[in-house]
Amino acid sequence: MSTIKEVQDEIISEFEILGDDKESTIFYIMELGGNLKPFPESERTEENIIKGCQSKVWLIADEKDGKVQFQADSNTDITKGLISLLIRVLDNRRPEEILRADLDFIQKIGMGGIIGSQRSNGLAAMIKQMKLYAMAFQTKQNA
């Protein structure tokens, strides 16, 4: 399995191919949302929501063989694409890897300029929640 850094480098080169055209970059992000696994309806609860100003994200995590498994969904297609990128990088990894991860691909592909400040705040909230899950599982493993 590729390392977090390798996956991030893959993503960076994919976005490089798209170049400066904001429109095609956004269409690409929306397409990525299609990679998300169907989200279990029973988990679509208030509790599992990370609330941004305009978009909602549902995020849940589980542990399998010591690795964290994420599942997520959103009510907007662009946000789905963003969360699918995070899942591609962080899913199925040990908690300490997730906690250590420096997600510099976001800055390197200039995500802030592509998605604007509102969604960037939402993206930061998603990363924080994923790391919180990782921390909870780490605590459990060490107990």
Binding site: E23, Q54, S55, I78, G116, R119
Partner: protein, 407 residues
């Protein structure tokens, strides 16, 4: 003769730029309009030549600044057809204007068992201040329902009126839908039961000819920045007899006649309501914005904007998946819509990538969105400097985006 839009566009430096490599199309005018050069020049002139505090300075600069400041009050009076300049109070914006009435008129004249009436399509700034008053005073907030087109049900409004109705506070033109409300009828009916009426004119004043004497409203609140003027400045118009009865809003300098530690007597209107050093520069520059509008004539502005809206409606109606929100007969130039299967935020961001600036979300009208069972809309709102070819680019963009989910 109709307006020369090319020439008008030349007066707005901000319009001539590219965003994301595409020429900017600015369709977020209901949020704030752009500023003509004359407004920018007035701001710079003030700070370069006249900056000083107003009303009490014993020197030439203070005299000049005071004169220009009061000239804007005079211009604002003429702009809305008020009887006298003393009925014009400068505030931070529509929101503060409404809160001023809530905290002064509301505190003094609304009591237990009284009623305040608003409509379903109010901006949060014309809901929350009244909820605060009602909670404090034990009064009741009543809401006029609307139909599917986004129009007030006047007969239902009449049923809400009682001798306990102390205030009807209603939006003149809806920011989220564009609906123009039949305010003259509403004002007459409210007065018949002895109620006062506040008009939220944030969206109407830039599009419609306003004559407060003809309308006979007791208050009118509006913002300079939606009228091609500076941000952080608004107006509260009130009838003299009502303003004089109201206690002051903020305490401080300017608003007093005499202060002793035992007792303070308050200044005359409008100064009673303008405590502290006001937003002098922006007030002065606001006159340039009002002159700009008066110079073009509201009738011609409205004719141009109506033409843009009609063109947009015509082009959009055949787009598969296009869902208009708010189809009232009488509208200002606001086009609110959704695209079937898509979130408005995504649509807005895709339009932004095409260089088209729109607003998305609930537009600070959550109860209205709930009424329509939607989370929000995409809102394109047009101003005098927009063109039919910009509308065509919007329609092309919307059609292209709609095709993603509506094959």
């Amino acid at each position: 003769m109709s307006l020369n839009i090319d020439q008008i566009r030349g007066l707005f430096p901000v319009l001539h730029q590219e965003v994301h490599g595409k020429p900017l199309i600015y369709f977020d005018n209901a949020a704030t309009t752009q500023k003509p050069k004359a407004v920018l020049k007035s701001l710079q002139d003030y700070y370069e030549k006249d900056n000083s505090n107003i009303h009490r300075g014993a020197h030439a600069l203070a005299d000049r600044a005071t004169r220009y400041y009061e000239e804007t009050r005079e211009a604002a009076k003429d702009f809305i057809g008020a009887r006298e300049a003393a009925e014009i109070i400068f505030t931070k914006g529509t929101t503060e204007s409404i809160n001023l009435v809530a905290q002064t008129f509301g505190r003094k004249f609304i009591g237990k068992g009284d009623e305040i009436i608003i409509s379903t399509m109010e901006h949060h700034s014309n809901i929350v201040p009244w909820q605060m008053v009602c909670e404090e005073k034990g009064a009741t907030l009543k809401v006029i329902p609307i139909n599917e087109a986004g129009e007030i049900l006047f007969e239902e409004f009449e049923k809400l009126l009682t001798p306990n109705t102390k205030l009807v506070s209603i939006v003149h033109a809806s920011n989220a839908l564009g609906t123009i409300n039949p305010v003259k009828k509403i004002i007459d009916a409210a007065h018949a039961v002895g109620s006062k009426v506040l008009l939220d004119g944030a969206q109407s004043t830039s599009h419609l000819d306003i004559d407060v004497l003809d309308l006979n409203c007791d208050f009118l609140a509006f913002s300079a920045h939606k009228l091609y003027g500076p941000t952080g400045l608004g107006v509260l118009y009130g009838k003299r007899e009502v303003l004089e009865e109201m206690p002051p809003f903020l305490g401080g300098g300017e608003m007093i006649k005499e202060v002793t530690f035992e007792k303070t007597t308050y200044n005359e209107i409008p100064f009673k309501f303008e405590a502290g050093t006001p937003n002098i520069a922006d007030v002065i520059a606001f006159k340039a914005a009002l002159d700009f509008i008066q110079g073009l004539s509201k009738t011609k502005i409205r004719a141009h904007e109506d033409g843009l809206l009609a063109h947009a409606n015509e082009l959009m109606k055949n787009i598969k998946g296009f869902i208009p929100v708010g189809i009232a007969n009488e509208k200002v130039s606001v086009l609110s819509f959704n695209i079937n299967g898509m979130h408005p935020f995504d649509v807005g961001q895709m339009l932004d990538a095409k260089g088209i600036a729109v607003r998305t979300g609930h537009h600070c009208t959550q109860p209205l969105m709930k009424r329509f069972g939607i989370e929000g809309t995409v809102r394109a709102s047009f101003a005098v400097y927009n063109t039919k070819s910009e509308i065509e680019r919007l329609a092309e963009g919307v059609a292209q985006i709609a095709r993603l989910k509506n094959k």
